[in-house]
Amino acid sequence: MSEGSGQPILALDRVSVDFGGLRALHDVSFGVANGEIVGLIGPNGAGKTTAFNVVCGFVKPTAGVVRYPLINKSNLRPNQLSRAGIARTLQGVGLFTHCTVLENVMAGGQTRPDGGFLNSFVATPRGIRAERRLRDDAMSTLARLGVDNVANQLPSAIPYGTAKKVSVARALMSQPSLLMLDEPASGLDESELSEFAAMILDLRSSMGVLLVEHNMEFVMPLVERLVVLNFGEVIAEGTPTEVRNNDAVVAAYLGVAQ
């Protein structure tokens, strides 16, 4: 799918968000294209999660627009996101705890065709076929990430690192062009981290990745571009090396130790 490489998938255009008197984002603009891995970093309370939430439609921008070039729309609601080719994993694992791993992954294909009310209720042959296809697909996605052995387990019964992979598998079910990861490294130990990083690099061939992360040892080698927020404003943008040497970023975020 490398022919799509470089094609823009998401663009924030001078987005501001106010919460009451508090300005969580101020005139923030950046974008992500297919095939690149972008990191969003900044001090606590800088507005990173808010930026994610604006993209996903959980928060309405007070000013500015979020564009989704693939479907040529802006300011979507969260449930329209997967149709815009964007999948997001949640902080922690965010799996459905009462559903098996397989069902969790099948849930990722919720928006596929032929699964509407009538097809479900009447059990049309078309609906039955769609469901079978969904199940097969989910199994092969699990297999692709090497976790198909836990398909029938409940999320609570599988190791944390595996659960993170399952949540990525779920995201992949909608065949996204952009994968958004919210603090993916937290809770993983160092060996799990490097495995996870390898997986993300592997995915890059077919999609863009946008991630929020505080673990610099994980982020720096992984990403191609960093966007740094502070008090809701973009204070720097560039390659990891550029950002690491940016005085403002060091003062606000990294500290001298880095």
Binding site: P43, N44, P159, G187, H214, N215, Y253, A257, Q258
Partner: protein, 235 residues
């Protein structure tokens, strides 16, 4: 000082801790390390009475803790910053802090001011509901709420989770200071072994519920075996 002896804890048939023994000395930071599911959280929860052990004892300055209720343990000055923050979302920042100060019977106003001074970001948000804080801000609030009661023992479950590098460093420094000046006993659980070992005096390494190392922090940090097999550190 916290002394853990022969501690075994189980969830149903699954043993999360098996015969764990170690000491956490006063005025020192004891790091508890280990991979996911090693039993670190379980250990802290057992110390603060949220989980009843199958066998073993936990004493705090000669007081046996295992038979006590959580709230009584807390009232002895053992503060626990739980995994996943545990701030009360429907409360304002200030109410969360007030709740933390309740049992300590301190001058509420003064202790609130102290925390706002230490963590200015909380001062700015004092009337905001904790639900609306960012992830890191919640982590800071949780820490402040534990510190406000001037505890004698501090149990920290992955305090750096979601914190920016700068503030992580700042908090670690604060803990180190308190430890030295206030006779504080700290048990620090960390996923991120390297940063924990940097400030800890002593380290206990758990592997699927068993203690595999219990030594001075620097010794653990140097041990290539431990690093590779139990701490998941990539050399």
């Amino acid at each position: 000082m916290i002394r853990v002896q022969g501690l075994t804890v189980a969830y149903g048939a699954v043993k999360a801790l098996v015969d764990v023994s170690f000491e956490a000395r006063t005025s020192a930071i004891t790091a508890v390390l280990g991979a996911n599911g090693a039993g670190k959280t379980t250990l802290l929860r057992t110390i603060s009475g949220l989980k009843t052990p199958v066998a073993g004892s936990i004493t705090h300055d000669e007081t046996e803790l295992t038979a006590m209720k959580t709230e009584d343990i807390a009232r002895m000055g053992i503060a626990h910053v739980p995994e996943g923050r545990g701030v009360i979302g429907e409360f304002t920042v200030e109410e969360n802090l007030r709740l933390g100060a309740l049992t300590a019977k301190l001058n509420a106003k003064q202790s609130l001011e102290n925390q706002y001074e230490r963590f200015p970001i909380l001062g700015e948000r004092r009337r905001q509901h904790a639900d609306q804080l960012s992830g890191g801000e919640r982590q800071i609030l949780s820490m402040a709420r534990a510190l406000i009661a001037n505890p004698s023992v501090l149990l920290l479950d992955e305090p750096s989770l979601g914190l920016a590098p700068l503030i992580t460093a700042q908090i670690m420094a604060t803990i180190k200071d308190l430890c030295a000046s206030d006779d504080l006993t700290v048990i620090l659980v960390e996923q991120n072994a390297s940063s924990a070992l940097r400030i800890a005096d002593h380290a206990v390494v758990l592997n699927v519920g068993h203690v595999v190392a219990n030594d001075v922090a620097s010794v653990v940090a140097e041990d290539e075996n431990l690093r590779q097999y139990y701490l998941g550190m990539v050399s």
